[in-house]
């Protein structure tokens, strides 16, 4: 049913539709409203599950690791410092191949302290071995959350659903919450073949000698690559039932004749979609929406840039001393092509800096430069800095 809901409320209702058996979370802005609302659903008897209030995010991740290993469908959510505090456990969940679903309400990392949105947090755990899916709007966050359980349980890999903090979590807008019957039809009960069972004891997370460690890492890598097909299927099957797609791994929109592409992750694409209409005099461009950062869809990306001369990779995080995070991966993937587009790489909207409509025509002008822009924090005003810091 279509309702006017805050993104966080919609996610809480959606998680309940997925019938988790164990929820463990520690509150942190901008994730707080999600778990507050889940705890209300539990207290009101609308969601029957074990809700574990823990003393830290490290424990929240540990609880869902243990509960999922014992065969329960689980949920947790966090952001920013909370995600960093989970980091050690995140690697353990993924390396043990435990299907856990988590919402990351993307927020900047301290210091300087900021409660506002960018994507430095999920980028910081990019290599933890989780599937990472980025949501363009609250409807995608709802639909991706449901898909995430199916993907996680089919692949035995954890899935991080990344939704921009505040920009999505705290925005009230019309959101369709699917019927319980639809979700039940899509999402069979969780059956974990390797579940911890006292009658048939096994160990997980044991010491692995060099005789097998590289093979374990190889198979984990391969599992993530193989997950690409499951992500596409999960989206297609959801579309068949609900009528809505989240765009699989990567989508391209815009005129075929465009020679400029703009690649984004997360919610900024909504602003750019309207900017295309507001600035008809700006150069024609295709918008590339990267939904799956892990697995990284190299072939889909190579196909998506056909006909492009310039690709502007817009990200919401950086690797200080290196440059962008997504940009270099895109460059590497496209370097395999005979005539790759020039890749410009910028970060914008760090720590909640507003991303106005008129940023779009300005960034398109990068395509006119004689040399591609290797990397810049595009909306930084260096006049605010001492000369030696510019």
């Amino acid at each position: 049913m279509l309702k006017a809901l805050e993104g966080s409320q919609a996610i809480a209702e959606t998680v309940a539709l997925c019938r988790p058996q164990v929820v463990a979370a520690y509150p942190i802005t901008p994730q707080t409203h999600i778990v507050e609302n889940i705890s209300k659903l539990v207290a009101n008897g609308q969601l029957h599950c074990e809700f574990v209030s823990v003393e830290s995010e490290f424990s929240a991740a540990s609880v869902v690791l243990g509960a999922a290993a014992a065969g329960s469908r689980t949920y947790t959510a966090t952001a920013s410092q909370g995600l960093l505090l989970m980091t050690e456990v995140l690697y353990n969940i993924a390396g043990s191949r435990i299907p856990v679903v988590m919402t990351c309400a993307n927020r900047a990392i301290s210091a300087p302290l900021s409660i506002w949105n960018d994507q430095q947090d999920s980028m910081a755990v990019r290599d933890a071995g989780w599937i990472q899916l980025y949501c363009a709007d609250n409807q995608e966050a709802v639909d991706t959350t449901i898909q995430a359980y199916r993907i996680a349980e089919q692949t035995e890999l954890p899935v991080m659903v990344c939704m921009d903090g505040f920009t999505l979590t705290h925005t009230l807008e019309p959101i369709d919450i699917p019927d319980q019957a639809l979700v039940d039809n899509y999402l069979p009960p969780y059956q974990f073949a390797r579940r911890l069972d006292a009658r048939q004891p096994i160990s997980i997370g044991t010491l692995l000698s060099p005789d097998f460690y590289p093979e374990a890492r190889h198979s984990h890598h391969q599992a993530l690559l193989n997950a690409a097909e499951r992500i596409i299927e999960a989206d297609q099957e959801w579309q068949a039932l609900s009528g809505r797609s989240c765009g699989g791994l990567l989508t391209v929109e815009g005129p075929d004749s465009a020679t400029i592409g703009v690649l984004t992750l997360g919610s900024v694409i909504g602003t750019f979609r309207e900017a295309v209409l507001e600035y008809p005099q700006a150069a024609a461009a295709k918008l590339l929406k990267l939904r799956s950062l892990r697995p990284f869809p190299i072939e889909a990306l190579q196909q998506a840039v056909a006909g492009l001369q310039d690709l502007i990779v817009v990200e919401r995080a950086l690797s200080p001393g290196g440059g962008g995070i997504v940009g270099p991966e895109v460059r590497a993937a496209l370097s395999e092509l005979p005539n790759p587009p020039r890749v410009h790489n910028i970060a914008v909207g760090l720590g909640g800096r507003d991303i106005p409509l008129d940023l779009y025509p300005r960034l398109l002008r990068l395509a006119e430069a004689p040399q591609p822009l290797r990397f810049a924090v595009f909306d930084a005003d260096c006049n605010k800095l001492a000369p030696e810091d510019r």
Binding site: L172, E173, R273, L277, E278, I355, P356, L357
Partner: protein
Amino acid sequence: MSMIEIRIHGRGGQGNVVAANLLAMAAFAEGRYGQAFPNFGAERRGAPVVAFVRIADQPILRRCQVQHPTYVIIQDEALLHVPGVLDGVLPGGGILINSSRPADQFDAAAPVSLVTLPATALAREHLGRPVPNTALLAAFLTLTGLLPGQALIKVLGQKFRGEVLARNEALIAAAIQQVSANQWQQPEVNHA
């Protein structure tokens, strides 16, 4: 597309975000699209809070802050001393200020209409609490004719029942009496 953009200034605890959400929910209840989101510095009572609302007849995709609102609602007149509070209001737009002083005692420094409403006093009288948001929203909808006043009561009915709802309805009726209906009515801003 045609769209109305609104900015609400207040302090933490005055129901700023709630006011923005109520407006967007009321738009949704009337079959339109609404978007509401907050911006604040520190998450604490008394700190300045800004909330944004967009209302349109089509899905709203942009997520940038509202820089050029048609209307601004000020829940605490002391915030007028904060730089930027009245920035960017479109010519011909309107500013609604919670104040017991007459409008001619304020200077908008722009060709916009300025209206005051003693919203805190009205809320004290009808709710027994100094929460100005509902009275301001009722006056705002009356001034603009943007949505029927009934839409506000409809969404309040999703939150409150019984005596609390009745008090809010009385508050709304009193606030409506204090402003001129459709004084601010105007065509919506056309966005491509």
